[in-house]
Amino acid sequence: MAQAVRMALHYGEEYLGVTDVFGEDVGPPLGGVFTVTQGLKTAWNTPLDERGILGTALGIAYAGGRPVCEIQFCDYALNIMDLFKIAGNQRWASGGAFDLPIVVMTPNGAGIRGSIYHSHSFESFATRLAGWKIVMPSTPLDAYGLMLAAIKDPNPVLVLLPKALLRVRGEQLIPGEPADPDELSRMIDAPIGDRSNWQPQWPPLEDYTIPLGVGNLVREGSHGTVIAYGRPLPLCVQAADELAREHGYTFDVIDLRSLFPYDWSMISQSVVKTGRVLIVNEDTEVTNFGEHLLRRVIDEHFYDLAVCPRTLMGKHVPGIGMNQNYELNSVPQLGDIRTALWDLATEPA
């Protein structure tokens, strides 16, 4: 997925007018702590100062540029919530005087043994920021398509990148991507060691845009609706496939992809069909975005529900501990999802 984002940014630089890709360690020599920005021609390193990063992005956008900036880990976005809020309200506050076409990307969530400050999720904070659009891919192709949409959209868009999936390869190729992963790596991954003379060879990429607000129904079924995104999504698919194979229970699995705006019609149709709902994410569970989705389900489909709707979220804890026993017992795991799906499908109506 890191390569997919990189290719999308390259496409953005070439065809969509991206003027600046910047953040801590985003430029050469490193090209991002997750290699997301290697070899990009407009990538540059900033001081270690998140306020300057988002502030400068705002300024660049005001002056007609198209900035894409990175917060190195979403945990380090918390000292600039005020700037996020401003970015979301400047158009509204000025009665439409200024558009703010900025993209912020940041790695999100657990799964890389990142301890307290490289494991937290940001979507519940982020979805509170009116004026923003928030996306989170679960596959490389979606990462590419959502990133292009984020760049094209003339409003602030936050791209949350599930850390644990950044090294995962996609089943589907990006238009223009060579089929051989080694070939792609030779073309666009920076070499180990001295990189000063390295230049990437970009494949002939094509446009592939996933509109904001459109979910992806990745599995269809009748025993329940699972709504997820980002890192837990493939786990939900895996659990659903296992239950289908072993017990014949099938599920609609919705990859939300776009958290705000979200694809309400996809959710709504599925809930009406199954009457059973499970919402899964890995963020901490008090005042969690999944609770908002649940509220919408209750608001509009309370009487369509066959059984109690469920949420599966991270525990309300001050942090995710380094030792795996902390993470395994505070962030939803495959087994937890399977159990929740089983209960959902088997509860008598």
């Binding site: 001081p47 002056a63 007609g64 506050a93 000025s94 200024f98 705006p261």
Partner: protein, 381 residues
Amino acid sequence: MPETHEDPPDFEDELRRRATRTAAPAVIRSGREAMSVELALTVFRQMLRTRALEERSIKMSKSGEAYFWIGGPGEEAFNVCLGLQVHKGRGPAYDYLHLHYRNAGVLLAMGMPMIDHTRQLAMRWTDRHSRGRNFVGHYAVPEWNVVPVTSVIEVQYAMAPGTALVQKRHGLKNPAENEGITIVVGGEAGAAEGDFETCLNWSTRPGMELPVLMIVTNNRFGISTDIDTVHAHRPIADRAIPYGVRHETIDGNDPVIAWHAIDRAMRYCRRERKPYLLEAMVSRLHGHSSSSGAQRNWKEVDPLAQFEQKLIDAGAIDAATVRALKEEAKKEADDAVAQTMKEPEPTREDVYRFTYAPSPVDAVYPHDYTGLPGRPEWPPR
């Protein structure tokens, strides 16, 4: 100043207004600096207009025509001199302005009609800066690169490097296109927020120094807090030293001084494409805002009265002309308010408007925000 229903301390009006020279001078001087009489009178007239607008604004907040007032009486000298020297226009070839909430004088001097200010103060739908959404003085003027003012102290300093970065790169092949600078303004108390340092640091990256004119209007107070009680007794301008940034602290109440200091600073930023920090000592004549009463503080130096006296002393203007100009300015403000109060207010349907720019890649909000996804409360326009 009958508008504020407060009497100035006694002094002999006649004495004050008696000019000491007779022949009309060519220039007005302050120490070694001088300004043509023509320019001085222009500055003076804009200062008068600004003051008239501010006093009418305070009155609005007390009369119920408006609700909250904040502004810059006491900063007219500096702000007018700044506004008159801005290269105004749209896009990176022109100056960007990242202002705060005391800069009516800047905008009036640039040519903003008074009614653009009073409409915001009276929270009208016709308010071009915010559609009746924001506090007064929270301007946003895309044609003049005035980016939206926000109430959050100091964040403008974190944004300024962004516009300046675009300007630094813009029009490199055409020198006239590469003279735009970024001007950012805030108070002295706010300089304690990290954003101020961000601006210094991001404007001095080696090889990428940025044309940012950082301005601090130092009125010595943050609401009720005296800067001398919370900050080392040193100029705010010294903050430039660790970054090797040029800097100066000036008497912002003297238009002759202010004019030239701004000129020097702008010239440096325009030509050298590097930052400059200018600290202007100014007055706060009506306290922090209407929340603290907005009463006139007669202990503060009044830059307008001081300049008026100087012009009279120099024989550049006479008391009758001053009186006429004041009347004219007052009438201009009254007329703006009268018109404003006839104009419509925003309605229920306007709550969501202007949240999102139209987007061809958004399936839910292709035009604007309409309420939660799948639950449009207002049809898209």
